[in-house]
């Protein structure tokens, strides 16, 4: 890296040579792909139909056990594309940087994004950098947009059907709990790692195997309670959840007890809820389990036509209760 500065300052966002130097040294060198030209737009050859999504990331702290804001920004957008059956092709990445951010931090974030993009087999082809005065933003905010080719048509939160099996690709609450502990410096902050990960393998393997998936959602903000309630309402179906099949890591469970929160409402950044035709349930579960991020996958529930719009849980002690949608709990910035 040929930069003489150690911190980002306003000149790096002013459009002059300082900005070019920063972009060259941090982004172009790191992303290292031939599509990232100096033109104002990237040109991509892509087959339709196309999926298109965008998401902003403001997590605090920007580095947390198991990930950082860069990995989160790539994985989050990749996973959003996957939920409607698209193979992610290209991403944009826009940075709003608070003056004073160490350039070493920015470089770490860019490297993390490049690694995650490589893992997800997606390219970061365009981007933008703005620097704002100290106090106008908090360290760094990233917006990633993504496009992908839709491989499986008809996937939608409104397409879950009575009888569908619900597969969850692993434990719940890891990301939210990791970030909250890191932020509040509570308990042993290193004891929980965020699950931030791109789930390309899991989803593309299911699609390639011809599994009849009807709906998918990555249960991020609001946790599985939010995602399941959304799908129950959109699809006008009832959902029965089996509390005994849900995996909550002991450290996550302990953190949730201490903080007084329910892991059902805590964010995940490397999990997928998959609604699949019951005849394909077992086969799908086996496929998911073969992926690195799906080893702990389980069949966690079923869709029914009985209590439309409602999610019910069979608790670990055998009783039944409602899982209501989140109501805007006071939680720190986690994504």
């Amino acid at each position: 890296m040929s930069l003489s500065d150690t911190q980002v300052s306003l000149k790096h966002g002013a459009g002059g040579t300082a900005m070019t130097e920063l972009i060259d040294a941090v982004f172009t060198a790191t992303y290292g792909n031939d599509l990232a030209t100096r033109d104002d737009s990237a040109r991509i050859d892509i087959e339709g139909p196309v999926a298109f999504t965008t998401d902003s990331f403001v997590v605090d702290p920007i580095f947390f056990p198991g990930g950082d804001i860069g990995r989160l920004a790539v994985a989050g957008t990749v996973n959003d594309l996957l939920t409607i059956g698209a193979k992610p092709v290209a991403l944009s990445a826009s940075f709003i940087i608070e003056e004073g951010l160490p350039i070493s931090d920015l470089l770490s974030i860019a490297r993390s994004m490049a690694l995650t993009a490589r893992e997800a087999n997606v390219r970061i082809v365009t981007g933008d950098t703005k620097v704002v005065p100290r106090g106008s933003a908090d360290k760094v905010f990233i917006t990633t947009s993504g496009i992908g080719t839709i491989l499986l048509n008809g996937l939608s939160g409104a397409a879950a059907k009575p009888g569908d099996a619900i597969i969850l690709t692993g434990s719940i609450g890891d990301h939210g709990a990791a970030v909250m502990l890191a932020r509040e410096k509570l308990l042993d902050a290193e004891s929980i790692e965020s699950d931030t990960a791109p789930l390309v393998d899991i989803v593309l393997n299911l699609i390639r195997a011809g599994c009849k998936i009807h709906a998918m959602r990555d249960p991020t903000r609001g946790g599985i309670a939010a995602s399941l309630n959304e799908i129950a309402k959109q699809s006008r179906v009832g959902i029965d959840l089996d509390g005994r099949a849900l995996v909550v890591k002991p450290a996550v469970a302990a953190a949730c007890e201490v903080l007084g929160i329910d892991p059902f409402y805590v964010a995940n950044e490397g999990k997928m809820l998959i609604f699949v035709d019951p005849r394909d349930a077992e086969r799908s579960l086996e496929i998911v389990k073969q992926s690195a991020y799906g080893a702990e996958a389980a069949l966690v529930g079923w869709v029914n036509a009985l209590h439309s719009g409602q999610v019910r849980l069979r608790t670990t002690i055998g009783t039944t209760r409602i899982v209501s949608p989140p109501t805007g709990e006071l939680l720190p910035r986690i994504c």
Binding site: I317, T319, R321
Partner: protein, 364 residues
């Protein structure tokens, strides 16, 4: 998790529940005094495990819920004074005052900070010597020792910019007031586990003696609560009310001496106003004369009297807190009063009876 997962064991819960079935035909209303019990019962659907004549009602054990409207409006006014940093537990953020809430004030640019420990408030005071840091002391005997430590530390450090707006309350006088009022026919009391780790189970002996009401101290896992309910039903069957302890892995007969001494050093008992109940003599905690310089009520004595309080007359939090009505009987419940648009504090607090009823709902 040690000492909690074991108490959620499905097969043991089945055993406990089948033992309770022996009391089929009994009619009993058991009050779970503590808000955490209310939440736990709702979260685990405990009522489905009880004989049909046994019902659970919520009591006054949610500290956020019983905080008087005037106290809420007073600290909201203090928060708006120039130079003040108001420090609170997260539960208080959305509690509605007469015209605003801490959450709304923070959005308007007022410096309100959420902490998990009173000692964090002391750190904030240390780091901001030119600002006035006011900590909102809310809670029963469980949280009071934490506030006591914070006050003593601030005193030892000579932190003159730290004070506590003290709404701490004690449980036994409230139970006495509730039982004396005769508002509700209570067949038994599920006593609060956390509070009792501090004050000891003997603190409730007046209840069976004076009111003939069976009692059992309970932990917060399903098995803890089912065991305590069985103890109460057994006492009813035997007509032998007493205080039993179903939470022996945490609770003693006698107080935690360290906590007791600390509270006795930093606080003195005072009369306190409880929402829905009124003034209960000796049920509050005030800073002892030695620490009175840290008392926000004294420090801001010129601001507090002018505070105007009004509350929604349709809100029935008071009756919910006394166990007179279940949350669903309030005409505002789930309509104009929801967790995002709370009218009363019982809908906001993570221990509130209305919040529990709203969140975990009913299955017909």
């Amino acid at each position: 998790m040690k000492f909690s997962e074991e108490f959620r064991d499905e097969s043991l819960v089945k055993v406990a529940s089948s033992r309770l079935a022996r009391y089929e035909g009994y009619e009993a209303t058991i009050m779970e005094v503590c808000g955490t019990h209310t939440m736990s019962a709702a979260r685990f659907g405990l009522r489905f495990l009880l004989p049909s004549g046994i019902s659970l009602i919520s009591g006054p054990g949610c500290p956020v819920c019983v905080t008087d409207q005037r106290d809420i409006d007073a600290f909201l006014s203090i928060a708006q004074l120039p130079g003040v940093i108001l420090v609170t537990f997260g539960d208080m953020m959305r509690v509605p005052g007469s015209s605003t809430s801490l959450e709304r004030l923070r959005a308007e640019g007022i410096d309100v900070r959420v902490v998990y420990s009173p000692m964090d408030a002391v750190s904030i005071a240390r780091e901001n010597p030119l600002r006035e840091v006011v900590f909102l002391g809310i809670g029963f005997e469980t949280t009071t020792p934490g506030t006591a430590v914070a006050v003593r530390s601030a005193c030892e450090e000579g932190l003159q910019n730290f004070s506590v707006y003290c709404c701490h309350k004690t449980m036994p006088p409230a139970l006495r007031a509730l039982l004396s009022s005769g508002d509700v026919a209570i067949s038994g009391l599920l006593l609060p586990g956390h509070v009792t780790t501090i004050i000891g189970a003997r603190a409730y002996e007046f209840i069976p003696r004076e009111f003939n009401v069976p009692c059992a101290v309970a932990g917060f896992e399903p098995l803890d609560m089912l065991m305590a309910i069985e103890m109460i039903l057994h006492q009813i069957a035997e007509r032998n009310p007493r205080v039993e302890n179903a939470y022996w892995r945490a609770v003693n007969e006698f107080p935690n001496e360290l906590a007791r001494a600390l509270m006795a050093e930093v606080f003195v008992p005072a009369d306190s106003v409880w929402r829905g109940i009124g003034v209960i003599p000796g049920s509050g905690m005030e800073l002892a004369p030695k620490y009175s310089e840290f008392d926000a009520k004294k420090r801001y004595a010129d601001v507090i009297p002018s505070v105007q309080s009004t509350s929604n007359t349709l809100c029935r939090c008071g009756e919910v807190l006394r166990g007179v009505i279940p949350p669903t009987k309030c005409s505002l419940f789930g309509r104009s009063c929801t967790p995002t648009t709370p009218v009363g504090p019982c809908m906001v607090s993570s221990e509130g009876a209305c919040a529990a009823a709203y969140k975990y709902g009913s299955i017909e």
